[in-house]
Symmetry: C2
Subunit: 356 residues, 2 copies
């Protein structure tokens, strides 16, 4: 900043070239780190660049290389620590590899997701990582478009019906079954599952849920019921828990029933918090009156009282892997085999025997 010229425009390779008394091309080579440059010229150019306060224009660079070194990430809700953690993994790996991250929030709305994809494509991102909206029904031409335009695509958490792309996710079936089995063994017969997934109500069968983790979770539950030879009640599967009001309505429905649930499973931490507030309002004690399980093992679940039984998944590592794989894909390298992400059920104080 010592000797910045009064000129308003930022110095370009041409300016540096003039200052260093070399050709524009040679200056560009030195600055861009490509081609052959003599040591002599290299130092002269660097000194000139320093003097002028030159800063490369990534836009111009991207324009003729075709690569922007940018990843687009579209998540349902940045506010949700689940995505916060995933994002952290993605951005750590991306930064390490020299990629930048453009972020978009879909609010779980397909229209916004589509718009975000469009914008990212126009910005010429090299690849997009998306946690697609959890609407089971719709097809996804906007995602197909990403591939059609030769950009890399990786799905996070959720697969979609109509395409064959890599998905970073875990298989919840086994762990969901295990958790349910433990609840069944503790005498629970009516176990509810509350999810934010958009879905026509009432829920009927896992197919309503598409290829989502939610479907796996329910499938695991059903399996446990089948094994235990206990009839499974689909009416206790409650989708559309999009906000506090929706959760309130769901709890209302659940406990208006002649045979209310004795155990409730929350699909994510936001829903869990909302549910617990409702339970508290109704004076339901955990685990005496109601057993409670939530997905995702966040630190606060250990310090609440009773500490929450949770189903843990390695969200940060999954974020890292998502970034690692899409970057490999972009570079045309082999991403290697997909690691098996482990989920596990951690029994803590929020689950207990069913009330008599």
């Amino acid at each position: 900043m010592t000797s910045t010229n009064m000129r308003m425009k930022a110095p370009t390779t041409a300016d540096v070239a003039r200052e260093a008394k070399v050709s524009k091309a040679q200056a560009a080579r030195a600055l861009g780190g490509y081609g052959a440059v003599s040591e002599e010229v290299m130092t002269r150019v660097q000194a000139a660049a320093e003097r002028l306060g030159y800063r490369p224009n990534e836009l111009a660079r991207s324009m003729n290389t075709g690569r922007s070194n940018t990843l687009g990430v579209i998540v349902g809700d940045i506010e949700n620590p689940h995505f916060g953690l995933a994002l952290r993994g993605i951005s750590d790996v991306a930064r390490e590899a020299g990629y930048h991250v453009i972020l978009s929030n879909s609010d779980e709305q397909v229209a916004i997701e589509q718009e975000a994809v469009r914008v990212m494509l126009e910005k010429r991102v090299d690849g997009i990582i998306v946690a697609p909206c959890s609407s089971a029904a719709s097809h996804n031409p906007h995602l197909a478009q990403v591939l059609a335009e030769g950009r890399a695509l990786t799905l996070f958490d959720r697969a979609v019906y109509d395409m064959d792309v890599e998905v970073i996710g875990v298989d919840f079936t086994r762990t969901a079954q295990q958790a349910t089995q433990e609840l069944l063994e503790a005498g629970h017969r009516r176990i509810a599952y509350v999810t934010s997934m958009n879905c026509a109500e009432p829920y009927r069968s896992p197919e309503d849920m598409g290829l989502t983790p939610v479907a796996q979770r329910i499938a695991g539950m059903e399996q446990a019921f089948r094994v235990a030879e206990v009839p499974f009640a689909p009416t206790l599967i409650k989708p559309n828990a999009l906000d506090d009001a929706a959760v309130a309505r769901i709890v209302e429905e659940l406990f208006a029933d002649a045979a209310p649930p004795t155990a409730v499973i929350a699909s994510d931490s936001l829903i869990a918090q909302s549910l617990m507030r409702e339970f508290h309002l109704r004076g339901l004690r955990i685990p005496q009156d109601l057993s409670f399980v939530m997905y995702d093992n966040f630190p606060w679940t250990e310090i609440v009282s009773p500490p929450l039984s949770v189903i843990a998944q390695p969200v940060y590592e999954m974020g890292c892997e998502a970034a690692r794989r899409i970057i490999a894909q972009i570079r045309g390298q082999d991403p290697g085999p997909m690691p098996a992400f482990e989920t596990r059920y951690i029994r803590r104080g929020s689950t207990g025997p069913a009330p008599r």
Copy 2:
């Protein structure tokens, strides 16, 4: 996608122009929505674009307009819900205004922050919102650089010494004083404050903390002590609580003392969780043995037991305002007066009378 050509390259304005039988310039005008275009030509061009699956190249566009319609956001830790919420506010407003968000995580390290700024400047972002690293000492040439290159800059949460830029933040002094006063009135005499801020130990005076919220919080505490005419112990101010290990060390120090604290205030939710785990390990009951207050009012603080007394700040709204103001700044509009963000102390179950 019905009639995509086999050509590998994406269609450009030139292709559309040829297809629509107009000049390149005219096609570009129609597509870009600028200049004068007859209705006749407009429809022909749009039809042609549709047929070809044309998609504007934002990079090229940015290159000659100089505006990229992009905001850079640098936060200390995306994983921290505080920033998650702020980010949500920023991205909601940005999207609404047609801006994209590039995200970077500084990990609270100045070197990474500087690198992030450099990269964003090279990407020609229109403005940068940064929650500067909480190192009180250092000057910030990299931030000054942002202004020097004519880009907008807004600080979030923290101000910096050596420059005059807008800061989105709250004044904690009053609320910190109020909370402290209540603790003093409840008989507490030794009140500790634990923060992740980088700072030479031991802490001596608020000046060590620079223009940060941390300084305000401590100043508020000191004020309350002064008013109550109780001597204030600087040794109970504990900076550098960067991770679980650091928190463990701090708790160790705090309770190795002959006169341990009877109340502890956590600077953020991550530290709070870490602290509570340590307290639990030591068998310290809250609030019987120890009163506890944390900054930020997150939903889970209501459902832990006892529910936590917190100091609330409108993080989401602050994120929105940060985006709103920097966009106004970019557009050369008047951002209007800075709203007064309110903080308040919410007394819940984690605070009580000091143990005898």
